[in-house]
Symmetry: C2
Subunit: 116 residues, 2 copies
């Protein structure tokens, strides 16, 4: 682990960076992009509650049960569910008239592991 606590020297030749360059492997970038995509999908109170309900019920839930949980129109809830599906956090299945959503459990694992 590199120690970055050193204060950079002032009065340095022009054109040089102000500090020792920190080695920063680009491997991190792909992981950061994946985790940021998941975090972004969770970065809305409605979607956070949707995932929370789906997780707590440990099975599939009908959309017609999710809509009345919020004071929002049905297209808005559908839009949030689509966001979660695009991020890979939830999956859906249509059976007859109804659509059922469920959590995709592996989707949150990387972020959870990173958060420790």
């Amino acid at each position: 682990m590199t120690d970055l606590r050193l204060a950079p020297k002032t009065k340095r030749p022009a054109g040089e960076p102000c500090c020792e360059p920190v080695v920063y492997p680009d491997i991190e970038r792909a992981q950061a992009e994946r985790m940021a995509e998941v975090a972004k999908a969770l970065g809305d109170p409605v979607r956070m509650q949707l995932v929370d309900v789906l997780r707590k019920h440990a099975g599939e839930v009908c959309v017609c049960e999710l809509v009345p949980l919020f004071e929002l129109s049905q297209p808005t809830v559908s839009h949030h569910l689509k966001k979660l599906r695009d991020a890979g956090i939830v999956g859906s299945e249509r059976r007859g008239l109804w659509a059922y959503y469920y959590v995709e459990p592996e989707a949150l694992e990387e972020l959870a592991a990173w958060l420790g």
Copy 2:
């Protein structure tokens, strides 16, 4: 744990909701808003990498070391650091010309616990 897997009955009296109402304590809402705020701040690859660097170095890091890690202008990196500070994820301290940032360890605890 309520079982939501039951399909709602069709052919119901008009005006009634389509399903049994799910008890949904409003206590969740405040927590969802707090966690969504944190997740939103993490929902950008640059900020995710910033937090990752700060966490891995387990101490304070000078801004002049953070800026060259990204192909971004200094004001943009400063903007991202402000977002993280507003969300309570990082703190900062100025010493002389330089500013140092560090992770606020409690900020991620609630989200980490929720993710399991």
